[in-house]
Symmetry: D2
Subunit: 391 residues, 4 copies
């Protein structure tokens, strides 16, 4: 066998890392690959749980850490942070000289990897291209990354089609399914008792819903007010119906601080409990047993189908994404939110229908497919490197 393929995976936030995890776990166990990580952004700040510690604990070889999160609550944070990341990452790439750069999604890390790989003539493998979401700065970034990436690892046929529509060449596009499902599939079952104990919330005694809500960059000034409405509805629903709510803190985009401020006002509400972050095994098992998911996380569209879980998506953040049929969209209106939660949690017919939905995002075996693709690419073939802007 020849020399190992050098893969550099880049990750900047926990949600992204969770998607990446099953793939990089697979790659490092395969002796065809020499896998290294570069870690940046929210992973490196105590404000967001300093999740680089988890990556270290997971045993990955981190060859660079690049601090990029500025204490700023405006768009400058994301712009300047991207500049800092490119500045640092270009040195990492020069030093490690990877054969393939691997990145997920549509955040600063994605566009940074895409720019560095393009100028440094290094193959870019991108996961999550072709997903279409309406109204977020992440959406054009995702498509810009696809114009630069050399290998598209997409999660559904709809995404594959979207990339073709933007002129991407067929030979670069691989439908591997949603790798997040690998992650879920492989997570060991925990007892309700154990989950309850960890959370400090008795989920055996009372049913619960999960809330994950992020700011929407195009209207980040409204983030606080919208969170107030959402929590008003959720709180009312829990009180009336004997439910509990387990929430997760938002990401670090502009507006997140306003959301956190609203969350703090519910500190003393016994039905509602927020966590900055949760260990992966707790999180997955919590999702396995929740009655519904509410908020605007991409998880509602991308992962909830695997859990056969009803989702109430509040606001526009995920509009335009492929909906397997398990998601209803409601506006910021407490009455509508309460009504949608009731249907999601208590309408037996509705819940049965969702159990029967077909999952367009694959079967939880993405990592194997990705591994084969990355092993099979002929790195000497110039066609991989020369991208036509339009085919």
């Amino acid at each position: 066998m020849g020399r190992k393929r050098k893969i550099l995976a880049v990750t900047g936030i926990r949600s992204e890392y969770d998607i990446l995890y099953p793939i990089i776990d697979c790659l490092r166990k395969n002796d065809k690959f020499d896998l290294k990580l570069a870690v940046s952004g929210a992973h490196l700040t105590q404000w967001h749980g300093h999740t680089v510690d988890r990556i270290r604990k997971d045993g990955f070889n981190i060859i660079d850490t690049i601090h990029t999160l500025l204490m700023d609550n405006t768009g400058l944070q994301r712009a300047k942070g991207t500049g800092l990341l490119i500045t640092g990452l270009s040195e990492t790439v020069k030093r490690f000289n990877p054969d393939i750069l691997l990145v997920v999604g549509d955040r600063e890390e994605s566009i940074a990897v895409a720019v560095v790989g393009t100028y440094m003539n290094t193959l870019i493998a991108h996961m999550g291209g072709g997903d279409a979401v309406y109204g977020n700065s992440d959406d054009p970034i995702r498509f810009a990354v696809s114009k630069l990436a050399h290998v598209h690892l997409v999660s559904s046929n709809v995404s594959a089609l979207n990339l073709q529509k933007t002129g991407e060449e067929d030979f670069r596009i691989f439908n591997v399914g949603n790798p997040a499902f690998d992650n879920i599939r492989l997570t060991p079952q925990l007892s309700l008792k154990r989950i309850s104990k960890f959370l400090g919330v008795d989920i055996e005694a009372k049913p619960y819903i999960v809330l994950i809500h992020h700011p929407l960059s195009s209207v980040y000034q409204d983030a606080g007010r919208q969170m107030e409405i959402l929590l008003k509805g959720v709180s009312h629903f829990c009180r009336e119906n004997g439910y509990q709510c387990i929430g997760i803190h938002p990401n670090t985009d502009p507006g997140a601080l306003d959301i956190l401020r609203v969350i703090n006002t519910y500190d003393n509400d016994p039905q509602i409990r927020f966590f900055k972050t949760l260990p992966r095994d707790i999180f997955v098992n919590m999702m396995r047993h929740t009655k519904a998911l509410i908020g605007n996380s991409s998880m509602g569209l991308l992962e909830a189908p695997y859990y056969q879980l009803p989702v109430v998506n509040v606001g526009d953040r995920q509009k335009g994404r492929l909906n397997a049929g398990n998601v209803v969209f409601v506006d910021y209106d407490p009455v509508l939110i309460i009504k949608a939660l009731k249907r999601a949690c208590a309408d037996a017919e509705y819940r049965r229908k969702i159990k029967l939905l077909e999952n367009p995002f694959g079967d939880g075996h993405s990592a194997q497919r990705i591994q084969k693709i990355l092993a099979s690419i002929d790195l000497e073939d110039k066609n991989w490197y020369i991208k036509r802007g339009v085919s």
Copy 2:
């Protein structure tokens, strides 16, 4: 009248500035606009003529200068330089808070402006989108910029069509023609004597050709060898046919240094004279009187039609671009280069045909059109800001 529209134009290299010039000259004379410039890259280094001095002399209001060119001859220079530019430019945008960011082309400045504008929610007007060129890292960058830009100011119908093919919405695309023609149209005529005197080359006594040749990023290691072949052919042609050759130094991409080294070996060749850079009026008048253009500059395809000038494009750098019919492509082979130059300079029938070609790139009145477009955009209309990745 309401408040002025704040425009921030960003430029990093002389070739780009030349295209930008007629537009920003038009904008600053219009009191609807408050025009400022941010200057970076090759403009700021003595190695490339320190052309920021010319911009200052032209009287533009420069609110930021951002040094980005590293002393490095590999792809790291472009990657890290882009990081430095984004890092600095995000501060400029925060401070000046422009309504519109204006940028040309497909270099580091373009992608930097696109990233900053996207994250800082500022309208990006991009000139030159949709042009398709084969084999250069600039090509995917140009299309990635288009996925982020909000207003596309394109130079031909072919480019407009290319953008539509990649999913860009119609209402954002404006065919304004090639603004470089405005520049040419407005440049005063100089006498042959004056040009000769400036160049130190007697262009009245002997005919001449112009040579502009840049490295191609995907094969930059070959840049030196290729330049040797090209200059061997040119030198032979000049000697045999009584021609002179006036050359311009390459841009700063990786490989440029190797090209410069080869150029230096012709220091003592009386027929060949190279300039680091030339004043715009001298350059345009030199182009008006040259017999042909050789090399691989985009000028051959984009500007030479306006001069009705035969072009010999050597190598692959401009392949895939719209050819008005005045350009022939030849490989790196001295014999083919000499043959093509003979036909371009001395075949009367061929030269007549080129005089009659229709120019697909407009009429030299782009600046007026762009000015009207930038004045007419409703900055309050959210549709401009929300980009769909695929339409």
Copy 3:
């Protein structure tokens, strides 16, 4: 009269700006000077009151803003922040080309200005050199800045002597007094009613003390625990003696977050009220009427003498500084803290003695002196620029 002297003042935090204010206010009113500001660090973050807004409101001409505060709670924040500041500031200096750089104190801004001025051959005027404080990373930074600065504007004879001891040449050292006193002297008197109303604290009804406490960089891990002790003592003192406490949030050094966490636990204590920041006029008048100052702010040693105010300094942070006699140092021990506060607030003899102390830091007319010095320096005289490392 010749051309104006171009002064660039650099500021990164409110405390520093307050010292700078009387000088730059003086300089801008003098038509011999062209004064500009570059603003960075804590001024630019919402976490610390976004005090750049105040600078804008004060009417200064800000030619650059440089975001440097990273979301990090370790020493990396200060190191990388200094790197970002130098990176940005070198561009500002290149663009504005000042005759003199003006900076205060011993924070990131000071060393950044010193490095930029040294390499860019620009005269550095530094305020606050020669003060000696024990145990903080700010102390060696202050002396390193003095080795680079060309003009030392010091606040007392002791500081002047300290600079001579480190080999600085006499002709560079000017004792101008503490400019903070100018600021205090010029602040208009406000009524107790007005102050009470602003603070939402009735200072007519009950006496009060002021608390300002920052983390100490060499033991920042202890910052939270130490704050707990301090607030325990203060809270007990207030309860027992019918006092109120008005506190100000700490600066942004590592450990600050832990201090803020402790402060939050006193949110519901009616005797203790914290402010992120206060308008200058409110602050000065609050200091004029407080019974004592507690904590570890440099204000205790540098400014309190002007107010003839007893100070209880807790911990080591200001140890080694010149003590006019108004400051007592106590360890982190609630009993000692309470005892020291009682003496400071209620021991009539002790309070009388402090009223009679001589003030070694000048008379509140520093700005005039500094203005004259900056106007009189012969900018053509090479001796100013050539620093001997040791004289």
Copy 4:
């Protein structure tokens, strides 16, 4: 035995690396230490021989490379480069978490290491402090670094005294001699034939002098003109006396480009031959056999005494340094230069005197001493970390 001490040595240019080499070679062979390198600046650019390749070949473990050299011929290059270095190096230090940072001299690397170590609370061991040189921006930088460094490894008693004069505490100061002598001592002897062959200069047939000349930052605008005078004198001396001259290219400071331009005009002079850089063994053996050294390199004062070599120092660059008696200073005047060279090369009495001079810079066994010091420091002792600005 406990865990290894983690040492991070930082180097930015070949001259510095040469001094560092014997120490780090010693440290890596000692299993008490875990030695890593961070490499930046001139080492990483093809313009200066890309000397990182040599460091790799020497087998050191490089954990970071940080590109900092901008294409700029003014002071901005050094200032912004320092910013970039601090920005990158703070990440390296965070990641590797060294016990001791090791750096040499007075360039950008030194001040960057000093700032990073200070803010990140990491012990800084600095070599070369206390040397006094007149008129260069490097001089105040060196003393500023000493105010921040925790351990001073100085090369002579005069340097130790200078540090004491600036308030540095005795317990931090160690006179280890000049480590460059270790390097020289350990370099194997090469035959004249072999040296001649490598250089392409027959040094058996004709005597030769060595020329090393750098720009002086305070008068960098004069660098070109001064080099013209110097080379005029040298060329005349060689022609008249049958000598050859072997020169080395200048460093990268502002003005270097102008010096290179002048050097190029001597391309065809058969007596004068310039090299961008030379392998260490060739260089040392060349120095062993040269008749004299001319220019303004610090080598004249610091290393030439070890070779017992007469030196002609032209201009002010090394003024103020400890002169063992082997250096004469002359102004930029061809007549004086010629006269001084004659005396240095041909005055037997003068040459005998120089052979007898005592060497104040030690005995070529610095590495052993430094190794012992770094092993013996009690890393738990807080006194090492707390620097008093003035003692």
